[in-house]
Subunit: 262 residues, 2 copies
DNA sequence: CGATCTGTTGACTGTTATCAACTCCGGTGG
DNA sequence: CCACCGGAGTTGATAACAGTCAACAGATCG
């Protein structure tokens, strides 16, 4: 892990949502941090705990997981480049557990650094505020999913969102990405039972929309998956348009299947 | 509507979540605004529209309503004193419709005013940031509801949240408040069908937890309602503890009912 | 006084949870 | 090398919950 790695992750992420000058990027190079490694299911921050630093995710996935509900609802998932606990700058107490999905590497960055660069550069202050607003927009979007769509659509939508957010930071270029999630994690995120999650995955496989084997997911029919999920990426505030799906889609978007199976 | 009314609403709300000095409050007195009146179901802001002002809610209720889902999922509800579209300061495009529930009165405040006072007072900038963070925390909480609780619990939780937020700004002192919501609105917020919402309300009435008649709701058993909803108000960041429920609760929290009805 | 919106009820259907059993896999220790 | 173990994935049967459809009642308003 080179010294510049953490800087690059944050700079790329901020640049993907806001226009930053050379001077702004220079400020980021001075970022102090320490590296932390975590195993699957480990908590980086417990509900009720207070933080004086933020976690910049470098490798793997993190999620916020509610502790009050019996099923442990997951409210959001983060990919490398994200700062899941940015809101602790404003309100230091965590309302849920920040948990590792799979093994993760993070850079711990002191709150003071963010306060400093925000006061030195309005553009950076705006970009940080925008991160929080995008987080809220994702929550709203996810809320619409849980409230108004069936479980197949929810799961498909989650895969769409993760794929696109990974691609936005240069990962998952070929619609393939590591997936250390358990089916129970997926169920907790989508508000369904683990058993049902399993059956949904099988449906997605049967429809040839994606494969999930040996801790890796490959989206094999992106147009079909986005159509099924009614996925509209506007809420992610991505600045670049997305490259087309490589394979000519084999009559995608038709949802009709063999109708009966005795 | 006196001139100072809009100022008071905003000042009280900010003071309820953050410590503000006399100087800070003085800044707020200079707030420029125009008054707007809206009828039930009218949109203040349409999805995709851009705003150069924020809406300070003075009377009635507002909600964000998603337009993409068939049922029109409501993602959050606002009470007087709230500024539902504060995030348009950071990202001017709305992702959903801002809709009036019942008749409402709002004060339109230019974005520039918020930018100005935030740059003049760090305390105010912090309070405004905190409003956004609390909004996100409410979204997370509501997400846990939709994802992990059954419809009775969801509806009960919504009434708990509205009651407490009204009380926090001095309304609903006696656990009674105007309710211009239709049962379809309630259903759209809780992610259930209107027919089912109707049956849930009847259950709540039968359990003597609340009454809802002639566009007004009275919570008749606050301990029972909060227990049923597993309601924990911490996420609202209220600074004062809450006064006790007036009536000695008549054996609340027992959920057993007449078991069969032939 | 009809038109429309809201609330109410019953019958039926469909989705999803729950429970239980079993398989598969990767480790770990005898 | 094999037996064992725990976690994860898979399957089938059943039950609970919530959606849909259809009809009607009540209010409100021009």
């Amino acid at each position: 892990m080179q010294t510049g790695f953490a800087y690059t992750k944050l700079a790329n992420h901020l640049a993907s949502i806001a226009e930053l000058s050379e001077t702004d990027l220079d400020l980021l190079t001075k970022m102090p941090f320490t590296i932390g490694h975590f195993s699957p299911h480990e908590n980086l921050l417990r509900s009720g705990g207070r933080a004086d630093h933020c976690c910049l995710l470098l490798q793997g996935y993190l999620c916020w997981q509610d502790t009050t509900s019996s099923m442990g609802q997951i409210t959001s998932v983060y990919v490398p480049g994200d700062v899941p606990d940015l809101q602790t700058l404003t309100s230091p107490a965590a309302g849920a557990n920040l948990r590792a999905l799979g093994t993760v590497v993070v850079a711990f960055v002191p709150h003071d650094f963010f306060h400093d660069i925000a006061s030195l550069s309005p553009a950076i202050a705006g970009a940080l505020a925008l991160l929080n607003v995008i987080d809220a927009a994702s929550l709203r979007h996810w809320l619409v999913n849980l409230g108004s769509r069936d479980s197949l659509t929810r799961v498909a939508h989650l895969f769409c969102e993760i794929t696109l957010r990974l691609r936005a930071v240069g990962l998952a270029r070929d619609y393939q990405f590591p997936s250390p999630f358990t089916q129970s994690d997926l169920a907790a995120a989508c508000g369904i039972s683990p058993v049902h999650a399993n059956r949904i995955i099988q449906t997605l496989r049967r429809k040839d929309l994606l494969q999930w084997q040996s801790k890796s997911v490959t989206v094999t029919d992106w147009p079909g998956l986005t159509h099924l999920a009614r996925f509209n990426p506007d809420y992610l505030h991505l600045r670049q348009p997305l490259p087309a799906f490589p394979r000519p889609s084999p009559r995608a978007t038709m949802e009709v299947e063999a109708p009966a199976q005795p």
